[in-house]
């Protein structure tokens, strides 16, 4: 069994936003205009927010990068009427029911989207408690520097973070190791200057993520909703 997950150490995060930039570059996420900002249509597979508690002068705040949580029990997969969004199997060889889409051959419980099947009903967007799903309100511009490994998204469909599944797929094909600190990792993890993020297999007790998770106090976002996210935060 393989279960990919990520650990984000908030004590290390400085809020530089390198992960957000790296994500945009790696996944060819379309750039947003000031108009999109006003209309709340930003495409941010990876966003950095600040959460706070209390009133001035008694305030405590922390910077918090948020990505798709790749939940064990994802509300978005539950509500998709056309089975466009799905979870990749935990065991290798165990195929998803129909075409496996982008995540073909990659196990690990990633929540992915079959772009060719999505009808754009936006039900997953209202179901996601983390607001990590994004709708294409207009045609994305094709740029020379776009990553050829990542499929293009057309207008009218929903897209989301993939844990850089194209990297994982490539690594698997080339027989490379997957997971921090010395294996292949998603672009955000690789780009972080403070090594805030650790990526790897949660089911392997010897992996860096498992060791880190055992050693520190951790929490998941909105664990009360029963989604069981695979992104853990250390505080």
């Amino acid at each position: 069994m393989v279960r990919y997950g990520m650990i984000i150490d908030l004590d290390r995060c400085v809020g530089c936003g390198a992960c957000a930039v790296a994500c945009k570059a790696e996944n060819s996420v379309t750039s947003s205009t000031p108009e999109d900002y006003k209309k709340r249509r930003l495409m941010e597979w990876n966003r950095v927010i600040t959460v706070f508690k209390g009133k001035y002068p008694n305030v405590s705040a922390s910077i918090m990068p948020i990505i798709c949580n790749h939940c064990e029990n994802p509300p978005c997969v539950k509500v998709c009427p056309v089975d466009a969004t799905y979870k990749t199997p935990y065991k290798s060889g165990e195929a998803a029911i129909y075409s496996a889409g982008e995540g073909e051959g990659v196990e690990g419980g990633l929540v992915l989207q079959r772009y060719e099947r999505c009808i754009g009903c936006k039900y997953c967007m209202v179901a996601c408690p983390y607001q990590q799903r994004f709708f294409n309100f207009y045609e994305q511009e094709e740029k020379d520097y776009h990553n050829p490994d990542v499929p293009r998204r057309i207008t009218g469909i929903v897209e989301k973070c993939t844990f850089c599944v194209h990297r994982l797929k490539k690594a698997k094909a080339e027989g490379k190791k997957i997971g921090s600190p010395d294996g292949v990792e998603p672009a955000c993890t690789e780009a972080c200057p403070a090594r805030t993020r650790t990526f790897g297999d949660m089911d392997d007790p010897e992996s860096e993520v498992s060791k880190l998770l055992r050693s520190r106090r951790n929490y998941q976002l909105r664990a009360d909703l029963g989604t069981n996210p695979q992104v853990y935060y250390l505080d």
Partner: protein
């Protein structure tokens, strides 16, 4: 009881059809535009992905379910005094559910992939959309057969069985629509077991109200005389439904206020945010309390008509203040901590012309189908 068609040769008839035709043209223009360049003109955002069309869909389905349940008064419960309007209410119910499906189609990001619902829907039956796709199509088929049997005097027992099962299916259809929202754990204003029940009672209110309006207008313009007793009788049902609806809305909001999940931000937004006018003034005051007052004070054809109009607007406002404010406030990410600045601010949805055009187009198509139906099918009583 004898039924008749209308002649449909007057200038007025073709004038109204032309008017509806213009609405269809406007709607189609925006639909094709949205399909070719994307939904850029819509008022929706990534925070509020569902806008006015979804509100209209829920309203249409509700009115359809309500109208169909009302027809069972005659065909299932044997109340002969409602027979003049029961057949036409089945027809209206079929039209409204078709209108709801067309509005969904107009709202989808990729309308040409609509058929995927039928192809892949069965693989993910945890989705209320997939379940509803089957419920709605079954409902349309059953209603059409049910309408057909009302023309056959020899099939009166079949009509009774079909009427009862269609009314039962209508309950599930609208409870299923309520479940689209009621099952969403992420939205504090939506996640509630009461929602499917509230949807059914609101369906009855809007169904009766809309029928009273459509029927009195149709009877007036076709020169038929509408029995005052019949209208007042329907008005009595409307009063009861409005009272039950008020009670459910009260309970629902008491739970929201008392529980205060997620710091009660979403409830606060509903009660005092930018859409609080829709909730307090349109939904509660003019949509519920005023019609109840009017109906208690006096029941004549005119007062029942006014109360119906207000009740229908009130139910639409009820749907609006569920769908839009329910999404506006970004949910809390870490318990007890609020997001600072941009990401914590509620997203304000403003109604866009494109979305209104799509709804108007659907209304235009329904209007034409209704008028053609009056001309082709024997729907009106010949008195």
């Amino acid at each position: 009881m004898e039924y008749t068609k209308i002649e449909g040769k007057s200038i007025g008839y073709y004038g109204v059809i032309l008017l509806f035709g213009i609405l269809i043209a406007v709607g189609l223009f925006e639909f094709v535009k949205g399909m070719s360049i994307g939904q850029e003109d819509y008022g929706t955002s990534n925070i509020v992905p569902w806008g006015l069309p979804i509100t209209a869909v829920v309203f249409f389905i509700g009115a359809s379910a309500g109208a169909l349940m009302l027809s069972s008064l005659t065909y299932v419960f044997g109340k002969e005094e409602y027979k003049p309007v029961s057949r036409i209410s089945i027809y209206v119910a079929i039209l409204l559910i078709i209108g709801a499906l067309s509005t969904i189609e107009g709202e989808l990001g990729r309308p040409e992939r609509f058929i995927n619902l039928m192809v892949f829907g069965a693989t993910n039956l945890t989705s209320m959309f997939a379940v509803n796709a089957f419920l709605y199509s079954g409902y349309i088929l059953l209603s059409v057969v049910y309408l057909w049997t009302t023309f056959r005097e020899d099939l009166i027992r079949v009509t009774k069985i079909l009427g009862a099962s269609a009314a039962a299916l209508a309950i599930f259809v609208h409870a299923g629509t309520g479940a689209i929202f009621g099952f969403i754990v992420a939205k504090e204003l939506w996640f509630s077991p009461l929602l499917p029940v509230l949807f059914i009672i609101a369906a009855l209110t809007s169904g009766v109200g809309l029928l009273i309006l459509i029927l009195t207008v149709t009877f007036r313009f076709t020169g038929h005389k509408m029995d005052e007793k019949l209208v007042v009788g329907l008005g009595k049902y409307l009063t009861a439904f409005l009272l039950i609806q008020l009670f459910f809305v009260f309970i629902e909001n008491m739970v929201r206020t008392y529980g205060g999940l997620g710091g009660g931000e979403m409830t606060k937004f509903l009660f005092s945010g930018p859409y609080s006018f829709v909730f307090w003034v349109i939904q509660i005051l003019f949509g519920t309390l005023v019609p109840i007052g009017i109906l208690f004070a006096r029941k004549t054809v005119l007062t029942v008509q006014i109360a119906s109009l207000l009740a229908v607007i009130g139910v639409f406002a009820e749907r609006f203040s569920l769908v839009i404010p329910g999404q506006s406030v970004p949910p809390v990410q870490v318990a007890g901590r609020a997001a600072m600045g941009f990401y914590g601010e509620p997203a304000i949805y403003s109604i866009s012309g494109a979305e209104v055009a799509i709804i108007l187009g659907v209304i235009g198509a329904l209007g034409i189908l209704y008028l053609v139906g009056l001309k082709v099918i024997k729907l009106l009583p010949s008195r």
